[in-house]
Symmetry: C2
Subunit: 142 residues, 2 copies
DNA sequence: TTGTTATTTATAATAATTCTAAACTTTATG
DNA sequence: CATAAAGTTTAGAATTATTATAAATAACAA
């Protein structure tokens, strides 16, 4: 768990100025025990509720994208009209519960890394991710 | 390769009335040798170019969603502001080329199905899909 | 300090998608 | 085959997520 000065150092180190807004967003995102899956709106809501402060939506967008670019956040692929982000930036997989729209992280202990037997020639593999969609049995698949 | 009357039967069989518009969309989507990855706009463009006809965008949306619900199309998960669909509804995997934004299908011969060692209790697995992102080496990961 | 550069902000612009309600088709039934 | 009921199509409006803009502000280096 990082302290605020450590966030500042880390930001500076990545070439991002440690502004009030960015430090607050760090608090909300990274001062937690578990992975956080969120949309920009979830995050904006958390900021105003937890810190009782308002950061302009544009800044939240800017910051999330800056953090993603620096590798502090990951964008998640699910079929959706919104973008989801993940504070877990390690290589990992997901269960997606179609009943509740909940996304659950898991690692290679739960889902064994698939073997890639051939690759596209001239290209390097950047990431390998598995998405397992689940639902209760009676639920029609979407 | 299906004929138009066969499309009509198939639609009727799934409880969808075989309207002119739906039959045309079937032609564009399913009278082809290879998998088609498309956005709604790609499809609308194909309709107007190939058939030289205009189907209302709303209808294209309606139809694609109806076809998806009936299992004739699959929605694909990539981080994007658009929804992508796939005429390949079998269980399969994807390479995503970050340089060109191209999506390439592959099956278990190329990417071995990952083993799911634990599942969420009370849930049934609806699908298991692997997404492999690739890029040329010098390319910064997105 | 002071000047330069990065960042924040409110707001406008854009783009994908969904909604609406009227017109039109398809289908089932008498 | 006439007709009514139900399903579809349509243009356009509405909604929603996201990006762009440009002026005000804050951080940094000298």
């Amino acid at each position: 768990m990082l302290k605020n000065t450590e966030f500042a150092d880390k930001l500076r180190f990545s070439g991002l100025r440690p502004t009030k807004q960015r430090l607050k967003i760090c608090e909300v995102l990274f001062k937690r025990d578990h992975t956080f899956h969120f949309t920009i709106n979830d995050l904006a809501k958390n900021i105003s509720e937890q810190l009782n402060e308002k950061i302009s939506l544009a800044t939240v967008y800017n910051t999330v994208h800056a953090f993603k670019k620096k590798g502090y956040l990951k964008e998640i692929s699910i079929n959706s009209d919104k973008s989801y982000f993940d504070t877990n930036t390690t290589s990992h997989h997901h269960f997606f519960d179609e009943d509740t729209n909940e996304l659950i992280d898991c690692d290679d202990e739960v889902i064994e890394a698939p073997k890639i037997k051939k690759n596209i020639s001239g290209k390097k593999i950047k990431s390998v991710e598995v998405l397992v969609k689940v639902a209760t049995d009676y639920h029609n698949q979407k």
